[in-house]
């Protein structure tokens, strides 16, 4: 399946990119599995950021939430606006 991945703030800087479109291998069902796979694919910063947050289709998500074909999945550090 194909997903759009977004990175923000320090994570975007560490990875040197803000987004990518990826074909995922079979068997990746959750945000947590996606994160682990991305880390294994050279995006080590995903493991290094403390308290990494996730969003699926622009809503806050948990590691156990499903990832489906066509989803927009975002990874970012805890928010600091206001």
């Amino acid at each position: 399946m194909s997903v759009r991945i977004l990175y923000f703030a320090s994570l975007r800087e560490h990875l040197g990119m803000g987004s990518e479109e990826l074909e995922l291998p079979e068997g990746l069902g959750t945000v947590g599995e996606l994160r682990a796979w991305l880390t294994s694919q050279g995006r080590e910063a995903l493991a290094a950021v403390p308290n990494l947050r996730f969003a699926v289709n622009q809503e806050m998500a948990r590691a156990s939430d499903p990832v489906l074909d066509g989803d927009e999945v975002a990874f970012f550090p805890p928010v600091t606006g206001g």
């Binding site: 703030a9 800087e13 622009q58 975002a74 970012f76 550090p77 928010v79 600091t80 606006g81 206001g82």
Partner: protein, 150 residues
């Protein structure tokens, strides 16, 4: 539109005037303005940049306002959050709420700020004499938001 994300500055009086325009049921306006400080975590701050997640930001803020309207009797609520490069003393965020009575206005305004601080996808990067750095999330913000859990 109850929420706006913009580079431009905002004027507190005109925003509040527009929020309550013509509505004589309003007895209370609670407003909060967040500002860039020249000092954070012990270091001088000369400049701040605000990054956000376009699309999600607006949805997250709208969801927070909707949640506040479900919890308290409000007539209206507004969130304006700036992005881009800011200087010390610049305005960052405005939250304003109108209600018949002050208790609900105060509670809803603080609730929106507390939720915004932990749920709206904004990130601050500040420039200090030691270089630029991403601002760390404060644990006290999680605690402030958790107070409203129910």
């Amino acid at each position: 539109m109850p929420v706006r994300v913009q580079q431009e500055d905002f004027d507190l009086s005109s925003e509040v005037a527009q929020l309550r325009a013509g509505d004589a049921r309003v007895g209370a306006v609670a407003a909060f303005v967040g500002l860039v400080r020249d000092m954070n975590e012990g270091a001088g701050v000369s400049e701040m940049a605000l990054e956000h997640y376009p699309g999600m930001t607006e949805k997250a803020l709208e969801a927070i306002v909707a949640e506040a309207r479900g919890r308290w009797d409000l007539f209206d609520a507004l969130v304006v959050h700036r992005v881009g490069t800011l200087q010390p003393q610049d305005q960052i965020v405005l939250v304003a709420v109108t209600s018949a009575h002050r208790g609900e206005a105060f509670a809803a305004c603080e609730f929106i700020m507390d939720y915004l601080k932990t749920r709206a996808p904004f990130w601050k990067r500040e420039v200090t004499p030691a270089g630029a750095r991403w601002v760390d999330a404060r644990e006290s913000d999680e605690g402030a938001a958790a107070r409203w859990a129910r």
